[in-house]
Symmetry: C2
Subunit: 151 residues, 2 copies
DNA sequence: CTCATCTCAGTCAGACTGACATTC
DNA sequence: CGAATGTCAGTCGGACTGAGATGA
């Protein structure tokens, strides 16, 4: 027998911004993952493709910094993208420690496919909020994140 | 050579609430984890102790529902709490499938210890926001989360 | 029989650490 | 020399799945 009282969330958790953040992020992550799965992608793939499409070819280290992904995880994600022909890895002639990563036309297509699915996710996620509230939320999160990056 | 341009975040990511959420949640998670580590605890431990302190003894299934933790993970977390004497597991005489979980005085102390550390974390996390903005953020996240739970 | 509960054995993506060889 | 890069191997907490045994 499952009653409503079984689902009462402790006040300590409800009142803690850190808990609210991780819970909503978990929910958002579920939605995002479902959307990506249909395209055979993961979060890291999308972030890397987005960085390549916007700023052009870059080294793996730079990609990691732009996307907030660890160096070592960039390696694995790019392996997968390269296997699917969405990026190309070539040695940097000007610095032989580096690889130059380039997005391919197939990568561009994949990026656009994911873009559409992702837009739908944001809408599902923010369904209870009005447009100005969505912008408020985005603004507040951005400021918290900015502050975190600078410290 | 690491320039500022290396850290420019793709617009697609910056504009996606789902990305902002997971990034800020990751940062919050780091802060929380550091704070808990000093007390030898993890997030799940705190959530379970909070539920027990606020609503009293309960079965594992109910605890899972209240804290948003999967039944199977509740098992492991309670094992750890029981080993440290912070909770007691005893069979429910009225329903022999269930265990009744009770918080101990040691568990209460641990909960209070973590409470203090956690308050400091929220302050660090929300440092860039004024008081009314913090409440805005909390309110918006709560509504998004409520909507998620109901669907 | 159906359903809930507890438990165990896994998987999975994401975040992170430490090490190493190579190159700047 | 110290520092950056790419790679590999591994850890960790959190979220989740599937199955099994027990009992309401």
């Amino acid at each position: 027998m499952e009653t409503a009282a079984d689902h009462r969330v402790p006040a300590r958790l409800r009142a803690a911004p850190s808990w609210l953040l991780t819970q909503t992020a978990t929910h958002a992550g579920r939605l995002v993952q479902e959307a990506f799965a249909a395209a055979g992608a993961r979060r890291y793939h999308y972030a890397l493709l987005a960085a390549l499409a916007e700023f052009g070819a870059a080294s793996q280290a730079v990609l990691g910094r732009r996307c907030g992904i660890d160096r070592s995880d960039v390696v694995a994600a790019l392996n997968e993208l390269a296997e699917r022909g969405e990026v190309v890895r070539s040695p940097d002639p000007t610095d032989r420690r580096r690889n130059v990563i380039t997005i391919t036309p197939e990568g561009q297509r994949q990026l656009r496919r994911i873009d559409e699915r992702l837009a739908a996710v944001q809408d599902t996620l923010l369904a209870p909020l009005a447009e100005d509230e969505r912008q408020q939320l985005t603004g507040l999160l951005t400021r918290v994140l900015e502050h975190a990056r600078r410290s």
